[in-house]
Amino acid sequence: MKKYYVVVTIVALAAPIITLNAQEGRGGRGGAPITNVPAPTSPVTGNAASGKALYSTYGCYACHGYNGETGARAFVGRWGNLATEQSFLTFLRGRANVAPLAPSTSMPSFSDSALSDKQAKDIYAYIRTFKSSAPELKDIPTLNTIVDAAKQEKK
């Protein structure tokens, strides 16, 4: 029997950018402030090693970066639907079963025929290994140089 899930919230993990030239001159991407929401601590049942391969095979990196930190939809620090394994599954399945032709975001829908529960849990296990690689600003001389130069620009 087909499973139906209730989509409570649809936030993060939403994805590809349908922009082509739309970003020209508007400030660049990657502009969202880094948030420091702690990584979830809920139980993980999947296999992270298997999930790593699936993360690549299923092109998750395309929008979320290879480390979940960069790209169109970074999620490290913005865990949202990734709070628990079940919420991740719910998010993946939701639009596939409810409104596959009219998704509320551009995140591809994943029905269980396209991605099994086991595969999804493996991906989740891999995602949960992600950590921020962002150093403190004081430890990045390049960025401090840029700020200092801007401060010194002629008024």
Binding site: L20, R26, G27, G28, G71, S133, T142, E153
Partner: protein
Amino acid sequence: MAKPHKTSVGRRGFLKNAAAGAAAGAAALVTPTLVEAQGQGTATGTGTGARSPGAAGVPAPTQAQIDRETGNVRPPVAVRTITRPGSDLMVQTIRDLGIEYVAANPGSSFEGLQESFINYGNPPNRMPEFITALHEESAVTMAHGYAKAEGKPMLALLHGTIGIQHGAMSVYQAYYDRVPVLMIAGNDPDFIAAHTAHDMAGMVRSYTKWDAEPKTIDEALVAIQRAYNEAITPPMGPTLVVLGSEIQKDNAPNAKIPAYKPPVFVTIDATRAREIAKGLLDAQNPRIAVGRLRTPEGVQRSVELAELVGASTSTAATGGPMSFPQRHPLCGPGADTTYDYTLGLETAGAQVSIIGPALAETAATRDTVHIGFGGTVPGAGGRGGGGGRGGRGGAPTAPPIEADAEASLPLIIEEVKRQLTADQKTRIQARIAKHASANHEARVTAITQAVESKRAGWNGTPISTARVYAELWPLIMNEDWCLSSPSNFSGGHHVQLWDHNKPYSYLGGQGAGGMGYGAPASVGAALAAKARNRIVINVQTDGDLNYSPGVLWTAVHHKLPMLTVMHNNRAWHQEYMFVEYMAGVRGRGDDRAHIGSTLRDPYLDYAKMAAGYGMAGEGPITDPAKLSAALKRGVAAAKRGEPYLIDVITQPR
């Protein structure tokens, strides 16, 4: 008066003397169909429609033509002595127009002209200098990039028919980008039939602004001047002159180069100039929204006007060339964002907007098929510049005045100077000081917020695109630089991090969104930079480079100051995401979305590719800690006039 066309060999009667042995060798290269057609005497005819089609529907070449094409001819024992070839006059005309470069992939239909480019004048091969292109698409896009950097055309020289079609995509991009590109195509009706046409320009007419095929040397010289004027007059665009091989080569002892008459630009009238000047001076907080102007002189005039009236300004400089300096003290929201008078210069949405004619309107008047996205109306985004962003908080907007903003600026400036009172001057100076302070604070706030976000993935592998732009900036911030390739696929981080203060700081998008633009446009920008102590930074997407990698050789051959930094995400990544989305919507999973949209199995090695073209470089770099040092080496090389390529394995976006 035009000379009558000669028969197939005619002017090349010497071909009859070609070595018989060579002919035998050539025959072996000819298909049975062509041999049969040739035997029926269906060689090229008059060039005006009298050809008999061969079995394949096109006239077959004669043996003499084949010999020539395959390099089996010998120079004639005696030839006509040409003391003043028409092509010398053509080159002099082009030189007089200030054309710096001519880019071409060689073609026999313009051999007369090419010989003049490289040998005529003292010194020869200067103004213009002959630039060797490996493909006509590259040649035209070089001209596209050059024009965006300098605000004036260079020349692309195209072989008859086949060269035009090779270059067609680039012509289309330049047309859509409203960029002036001057093109000349050769036409040799006596040679290979497939390389000539009754209406040579017809194949690109839908997306060129103007074309001509003069029949005499005198007409040709006028046409070249006209093509130049048409190209630089709004709506700017590519123009094409088709020059027959006869008038290139024939003696022209009595021809004279006509006196050049600069184009007349449509400006606002004096009454409107007075009104605008009064509006700017009477306002308590005027605003000038600057879009994309035509030339650096126009940018300079916009700065002069803003400073005269103390107007805060907006700019399109982070989206493309020829706009207001981004870090000018008056550029930004200013001390007060409630503007009581707004003037738009090539932008819509202001209280008074001056906008040049739309290319779409020009196209609509032609009896040809209009090709376009329908977005070339002013302010609709065809120009990528600031439309509708200048009038916030001000009075209601009005329909734009159709005139050239740049040409209108001197009239407004003159009126401002005439009307400006001492009291106003004092008030304006005080306002400028407030705006400058507020804009500086806004800038510091914005950059502080921006660098916070750029920390994300800073030490990650593959390397974040933000880090690529961030590491570049300290290395070039004190140089005269030009960012040449579109940055939308590589995150556009320069918009927040870099200062776009020159008319050529950032050259913007492709025009029509076609790939294969970035590398050749960068070479064009580097041609502009070469004599101006400027360096070009080309953040190059991998998919784009593979359309025309031969331009790397051109950059090396001509010693161009260009640093190419690969945004190597090993895909046509936008398309990859599109396919993923489609597969996801259809519930089929994304595990096959890479088919046809990624560059893997094997990965391309761009440092080796560069080396193959003679370009120094390094990579692939995957360790972010090694990036800065590599970029330093690259910037140093570019400053020495040695193009350099760094292959960086990057995050997808």
